[in-house]
């Protein structure tokens, strides 16, 4: 195998192969093509989705074209007040959950990991429900995401501690079992909250747990957008260390990654993104599982390309799911969490048993 260097003469090291000078632009072109296509899909979904729903609306009328002065514009009300914030929040929520899922999968080297299966969403649910049920309405909108984040943090810390306890090579199934158990635990906590709540609140909790995008406002969208830009930015900035961590903690260490610090930052950021979504939309499962998997097939495993792709593709996916949820059982609307669970759970089983 040293024939290329020749048995005589000095071995050239580090090797120089100038013919590969084009490789870097190729990577950029591949990335931009993937991101561009996904961005177009997401844009199309956002543009078309507000038109879909139990009531037909006219896009022109929604924008005030053909509406007489003084006439009540129902189309605009539905478009701008009911549907557009919901679609925007769907875009941001799908993006946040997907990029969080992809990050968990790399950090834990487990392609079954995502906020829902790990119990992080369950923890965030408990936090949000505590705030929504027991705190006065004046503080609960602020306290809900805060407590959701705190309980998500508890879930992550527990999981992380358990995997550390088992040593570096605890099996993927162990981690998922721990996540399932965590879901039992938080499920019990949620049942307890329901039990001591009044019947009206209990109904609201049950509805909230189905995971829906209907309870939203432009203000929530704005905060979610800021979080996604900051959090997503931090995660994308860590894309290369995530690539290395996906090969193993020890390998990443040997190649120059400060493993503990990187993992702490990435776990905290991805958990915060997921917890914020849960605080407002309830636990929407499996988005963080489905989207990274499909995209890894399409754009490859390199997180420098994959993470931005999951943001765009995740947003697209959840907006499309929510549109479907609005029309499948029209005139009644299905909470989107039910739909993603019906799609995601079989996929999860397939992943689990494909491994053999």
């Amino acid at each position: 195998m040293t024939e290329s260097a020749g048995e005589t003469g000095k071995l050239v090291f580090p090797p120089q192969t100038p013919t590969e000078a084009l490789a870097a632009p190729v990577a950029w072109r591949r990335a931009l093509a993937a991101w561009g296509a996904l961005a177009l899909l997401a844009l199309a979904a956002v543009a078309l989705s507000p038109l879909v729903g139990s009531t037909n609306i006219d896009l022109l009328r929604a924008w005030g074209i053909g509406v007489a002065a003084g006439e009540e514009n129902i189309d605009a009300a539905i478009f701008f007040t009911a549907r557009l914030p919901r679609v925007l929040f769907g875009l941001l929520a799908g993006a946040s959950l997907s990029v969080a899922g992809a990050t968990y999968q790399a950090l834990l080297r487990n392609d079954l990991a995502e906020p829902f299966t790990l119990g992080v969403a369950g923890g965030a649910s408990v936090g949000a429900l505590l705030a929504l049920n027991f705190l006065p309405i004046t503080v609960s909108p602020l306290a809900a995401p805060g407590l959701a984040l705190a309980f998500a943090g508890v879930a992550v810390a527990l999981l992380y501690g358990l995997t550390r306890l088992r040593g570096p090579r605890s099996s993927p199934a162990t981690l998922i079992l721990a996540g399932v158990t965590m879901n039992f635990l938080f499920g019990a906590a949620i049942l307890l909250i329901q039990y001591i709540s009044d019947p009206y609140q209990t109904m609201a909790i049950v509805r909230w747990l189905m995971g829906g995008l209907d309870v939203t406002s432009y203000r929530v969208c704005a905060v979610a957008a800021v979080l996604l830009v900051v959090g997503g930015g931090i995660l994308i900035a860590h894309a290369r260390p995530l690539n290395l961590l996906a090969l193993g903690d020890m390998t990443a260490h040997h190649l120059g990654v400060p493993v503990e610090r990187t993992r702490l930052v990435a776990l905290a950021v991805s958990s915060a993104l997921a917890a914020f979504v849960v605080a407002f939309a309830g636990p929407i499962g499996f988005v963080g599982l489905l989207v990274p998997h499909v995209l890894r097939r399409l754009v490859g495993a390199d997180h420098r390309i994959l993470l931005p792709a999951t943001i765009l593709g995740g947003g697209f996916f959840l907006v499309v799911c929510d549109s479907a949820a609005r029309v499948l059982f029209a005139p009644s609307e299905l909470p989107v969490g039910i739909l993603t669970a019906f799609l995601g759970a079989p996929f999860f089983l397939w992943l689990l048993f494909r491994k053999g």
Binding site: M1, K10, L11, P15, W28, P241, A246, L247, A301
Partner: protein
């Protein structure tokens, strides 16, 4: 006067209550080609991982270029010390080239975006050096155990290190590739002063290529020296607790064989 790279002093390590290494002293100088042999469980790999910084000493110290390994910034250390470890996890569908390019991480700017042409040139070059030309786009899962092993060697070479620490690098390779890997290491050592520290079970391979052998046994270094002086029947029988013959090959290299 050769420069000292690794200085190990009074190094001890335990996994929980199980002591693995006891008060080891060792120096590795620039340009050394050191092989570590010894039976299972005497702490060969542990010693390597204390040198790589993956494990922290229980007591004593491991210094690289005068600075404790644990205090080196990871990135700066990885620019100088490459490691080929025994166990690699690989879940995602990375290609051979992508994995080798990851060896360039320590040399890239913090927010460098994609790998630059130089990184690609080096990655292609080291893949060719380990005999994987044409396999760049194969996914790791599609490669044989031996080919994967060579990818990991290539990745460590892509770090362009001054020192290479290898843990059983040839365990899954067939004879010709075992020889190829060691010949490559030997050339890098001779022509580019690459310092090589290799843990291996293959005493004969080590005897052929290493200038210095370290025999470990009973949590400590039992003997250290040139293969010809070191590979004596009494020492090896004692360390391995096995009847052993030491023969001499045509060129004077000792050959260790088992006795029935």
């Amino acid at each position: 006067m050769t420069e000292q790279l690794f200085d190990i002093a009074q190094l001890s390590f335990s996994y929980g209550n199980r002591e693995v290494l006891r008060e080891i002293d060792l120096s590795i100088g620039r340009g050394d080609f050191v092989g570590v042999i010894g039976p299972n469980g005497v702490g060969k790999s542990t010693l390597l991982h204390l040198m790589s910084g993956w494990l922290k000493p229980r007591s004593g110290s491991v210094a690289y270029k005068g600075r404790t390994v644990g205090e080196w910034p990871r990135r700066a250390f990885a620019q100088q010390v490459g490691v080929v470890a025994q166990h690699e996890e690989g879940l995602f569908p990375f290609t051979a080239e992508e994995v080798v390019l990851m060896g360039r991480y320590a040399h890239q700017a913090a927010l460098a975006g994609f790998d630059n042409p130089e990184d690609h040139a080096i990655a292609r070059g080291v893949l060719e050096l380990v005999g994987l030309k044409g396999m760049e786009k194969r996914r790791l899962a599609e490669l044989s155990g031996g080919e994967r092993q060579r990818v990991f060697i290539a990745r460590a070479l892509a770090q362009c290190p001054e020192v290479l620490l290898l843990d059983e690098p040839t365990s899954s390779l067939d004879l010709s590739f075992q020889r190829d890997v060691f010949r490559l290491l030997e050339r890098l050592n001779r022509e580019h002063a690459l310092t090589v520290f290799v843990v291996t079970h293959d005493i004969n391979l080590a005897a052929l290529f290493c200038r210095t052998l370290i025999v470990m046994g009973g949590k400590t270094i039992r003997a250290q020296g040139a293969p010809r002086d070191l590979l004596r029947q009494d020492l090896l029988q004692d360390v391995y607790h096995t009847p052993i013959d030491v023969l001499t090959s045509g060129d004077g290299t000792p050959v260790v064989v088992l006795r029935k």
